[in-house]
Amino acid sequence: MNDHVEIQEAIAAYVTHSLDPQERANTEHELLEHLPGCPSCTALLRDLRELAGDLALIPDARRVSETGEARVMTAVTGTRPESAVRARTAWPRAAAGVVAIVIAASAVLNVIVVSRSHQDEARARAALQAIALVSDPRAQHAVLQGPSGSLAMSVLPTGKGVLIAQGLASAPSGSVYELWLAQDSRYVPVRVFSPDNGDVVLPFTAVAGQYTGAAITIEKGYVTQPTRAPSYSGSLTA
């Protein structure tokens, strides 16, 4: 997707949530590649995102039940935001995971820059963005263990994340890998992918939320529920 108008149309579709999950994941990937070098499309995304939020004002407001309000306020009163908790307690535990994943991202970046700099500028940019993301103090991290090693993954509370691996075997012929985020026992589809000569630098944006883990299955194509047991899985930690 290189045409400027196509990018603008993609932004309009993206902010109005009128893409299916696979289209959305693809669009996010394309925007991630295009926006850093395009101030006008970046500004358009900001404007149309704001506008899409304001479309919400068109329906009549609707009174919420006292029960619902009480439920929300009770839940809030009994807990603290993760940022407030994490700011006081989590850094030592987070450090090891961040370091491991930054090292993994750096290794992939190194491979790209050293050996294929002519062809892979976009991938190098994606790897740099990946390093920024995994270094974000708000990120949760997971190491997904499987039969042929492990993959590293980081995700922000916004749902933006990245999956990183080196030396990942190709999925069986006619199949792809699919990444999932887990909310306890529920799996949320993220996107499908295939390694490029064993390398994976996969930016993604999932639905914002609190996730407890991540998994990768081998599927025939994009599916909304896993059809097989995960080949790789791991728990998310701060």
Binding site: H17, D54, Q210
Partner: protein, 175 residues
Amino acid sequence: MGRIAEGSSDAFRDLYSRYASTAAGLAHRVIGDPVLAEEVVQDVFMSVWRSASAYDAARGSVRSWLLTQVHHRAVDVIRREDAERRRSLRQPEPVPSDPTDEVVEDEWLRARRADMRLALRTISDDQRQVLQLAYFDGLTQTQVSERLGIPLGTVKSRTLAAMLKLREALSGAER
């Protein structure tokens, strides 16, 4: 949002008081089911409380950030629940018969709502129809194309044109 991220339940209550009814109106418009709509609103507000630090002021207003999450969650629900089936089974709404009758909104929000409705009149019927199906009925652009029997490219271009026209119409009414 900074106070909420630091754990201020008072600040959170203010946010809830200001936007919960708008969020409920949107979720109900998309989902068409008052119970599911209220669940969406509760889920989003609880998510906002847990991850308030995710808000980035450089990317837009709190209002837009919050309502975008409500819309995204509502669309997810309706796609999961099968919109047509749910609408066909929809029961009469219990309360309130006039959804605005007990909603108290601040003046700014009421004025912004009026601006948006006026701006909506500036786009063509074709553009409004596409936006209606995609944003308020939760259809994907491919589904809109099939529903209207028009090429997908036309849906894409009408959606962009509608958004640009709305932006232009609102530029004179920025609040």
